[in-house]
């Protein structure tokens, strides 16, 4: 049931049902009468023709609700359970973005016009309000922003690969102790555990307090709100990285700082990408964009993924600090949302202009092994000033199934970070296509940017 602000009249729900039934019956009677009228037209009564009376009747009722708000009789003083179910289903769908809902609607041949609620209702109806089906749909399309529903790894670059004997020796000093890493911010080292000869896992807790002043009857008093975040860090003697698992950005930074102090490892500080191996026109592209494009086009494919659809691309435009920032417009970032964005002129123009691509969200499919079927997952890759992050949504699968996928993506990202571009020739060919598209006046009709011309197997 809708809550359109323009709706002005309240009608008893049963009266609205009555209006719909009467008008619908009249339309059907007019159609039946026309069928019986002698004419040259050929009438076909096909036994397999779908019965759409309920759908059309529901469509009429929904459109009438634009102007009439049905007042429903309570059930024992409460709201109908069916209505609550439907509203909850809609609310869950509304958690997806409007553009995503419209994509789903388009794919299901539904109307894509209207506001978020309109489109969510259309989609829910097309699934016959089946909550299980809709839950799967939401997981498949949800952007992996929520660490509770996604695997998160943040990779902080080190100056050198760590010497694990030295690191383990240093960490043994701080087990069960805490270090202060900022104002009202501490890291508690809980446990160090060797995962293998080369990998050490450090578990700990970031404890912080937010301070505020509360006005009380006895005068102002300082008030502290505690928060805690469990963090796991991994150090591998084979790669110059610290991996932080399942942590949001601030606790991750705090934990890495504590580890650097305790284990005496040197953080790179700023995210320094490997020297660009690209030549010619590729030199026009920002190194961060080259990093992302090589990851997208080669590393992920080598890691066993296909059908890559770039749905979000964020470009950094300016990080200039100016004194008169409040008086003049500054465009710091541009974020595109859609599908197959690398085939869009707008995104290609920003790449060609040398803007750094700092964030991308994509949908990827696994290449199935024999006897398996392909699965699809939402992934987000972000380049922060001091680290790179991968967030992999659970997709339609159990968390443990998507974890293996997530690990493959993390390995690809780590390799790109410390080994550089996987295939410079492929990257160069992709750049040529990007630059060509940037000069085009219209978006591609079909997404082909991530398909090698010589490759018949697609992306």
């Amino acid at each position: 049931m809708r809550t359109d602000k323009s709706a002005t009249n309240v009608i008893k729900a049963e009266d609205l049902d009555d209006v719909v039934a009467k008008l619908f019956a009249e339309a059907q009677a007019l159609g039946a009468a026309l069928r019986e009228t002698p004419s040259k037209r050929v009438i076909t009564r096909h036994p397999r023709k779908a019965d759409i009376k309920d759908r059309l009747s529901a469509r009429l009722r929904t459109s009438l609700e634009d102007e009439l708000v049905p007042a429903v009789q309570t059930v024992d003083g409460d709201i109908s359970e069916r209505e609550i179910d439907r509203e909850v289903t809609k609310k869950a769908l509304i958690g997806l973005k409007l553009a995503t809902l419209r994509t789903i609607a388009r794919q299901r041949g539904l109307a894509t016009s209207g506001n978020l609620e309109d489109v969510a209702e259309q989609v829910a109806k097309s699934y016959s309000w089946d909550q299980e089906e809709i839950a799967r749909l939401i997981l498949a399309y949800a952007e992996p922003d929520d660490p509770a529903r996604a695997h998160v790894d943040r990779l902080f670059p080190l100056r050198d690969s760590p010497d694990m004997t030295y690191v383990r020796d240093r960490l043994s000093y701080v087990a069960g102790r805490y270090v202060r890493i900022g104002i009202a911010r501490w890291f508690v080292f809980k446990e160090m555990r060797p995962i293998s000869a080369s990998i050490e896992q450090v578990s700990g807790v970031v404890r912080t307090y937010q301070a505020s002043v509360d006005e009380t009857e006895t005068g102002p008093q300082l008030h502290a709100s505690p928060s805690r975040s469990d963090v796991r860090l991994l150090l591998d003697s084979h790669e110059p990285l610290v991996r932080v698992r399942q942590a949001s950005i601030l606790p991750a930074r705090s934990a890495v700082r504590a580890l650097a102090i305790a284990a005496n490892v040197s953080l790179q500080g700023a995210l320094q990408l490997p020297a660009v191996a690209a030549t010619g026109s590729a030199t026009r592209i920002h190194p961060q964009s080259l990093f992302m494009l090589d990851l997208l086009h080669t590393r992920l494919r080598e890691a066993g993924f296909k059908d890559i659809n770039l749905t979000v691309a964020r470009f950094k435009m300016s990080d200039a600090l100016v004194d008169d920032a409040e008086s003049r417009p500054i465009l710091r970032a541009v974020r595109f949302e859609g599908a197959h964005l690398l085939d869009s002129v707008a995104a290609c123009k920003l790449l060609a202009d040398g803007r750094p691509l700092t964030e991308m969200a994509l949908m990827i499919s696994t290449v199935p092994k024999a006897g398996e079927y392909s699965r699809r997952y939402p992934v987000r890759v972000t380049l922060e000033p001091d680290h790179a992050a991968v967030i992999t949504g659970y997709g339609t699968d159990k968390p443990e199934s998507s974890l293996e996928v997530h690990r493959r993506i993390v390995r690809s990202l780590a390799a790109e970070m410390h080994a550089g571009h996987a295939d410079v020739d492929r990257l160069q060919a992709l750049i040529s296509r990007v630059l060509e598209q940037a000069r085009s006046s219209h978006d591609a009709k079909r997404a082909t940017m991530l398909t090698d011309p010589a490759d018949s197997s697609g992306n």
Binding site: R41, K49, L56, A111
Partner: protein, 114 residues
């Protein structure tokens, strides 16, 4: 401003050749146009105003019941799965919108009522 068919149904109308079907000589134009006005009057009698989009849902029910659209759709070269509720509903809604569009155009041009 002219009446506009919703975008998703425009391609259906085109694929099914509904403009020429609705403009064919044997299309019972008067019956459908009279039905539009009768349904609008009935709604008003029930204290409800219905616009062209709501009329389209009612005309879709009328077209579904009449079954001449079934003949047209099944005669097309491209196979249309009329056993699918979603597909058939789209066919009926697209035909209804094309009919309403013709009605609106002819009222504006002074061709209806003739």
């Amino acid at each position: 401003m002219g009446f506009r068919i919703p975008t998703p149904l425009q391609s259906t109308a085109k694929d099914l050749g509904l403009n020429s079907w609705v403009n064919k000589r044997d299309f019972p134009r008067d019956s459908y146009f009279n039905a539009i006005e009768a349904l609008r009057a009935s709604a008003l009698a029930l204290s409800v105003q219905i616009d062209e989009h709501k009329i389209a849902a009612l005309l879709a029910a009328m077209l579904d019941e009449e079954d001449a659209l079934t003949t047209h759709v099944l005669a097309l070269r491209s196979a249309v799965d009329i056993s699918s509720s979603a597909v058939w509903e789209k066919c009926c809604m697209a035909a209804a919108y094309v009919t309403v569009q013709r009605y609106v155009r002819e009222v504006e041009n002074g061709k209806w009522p003739g």
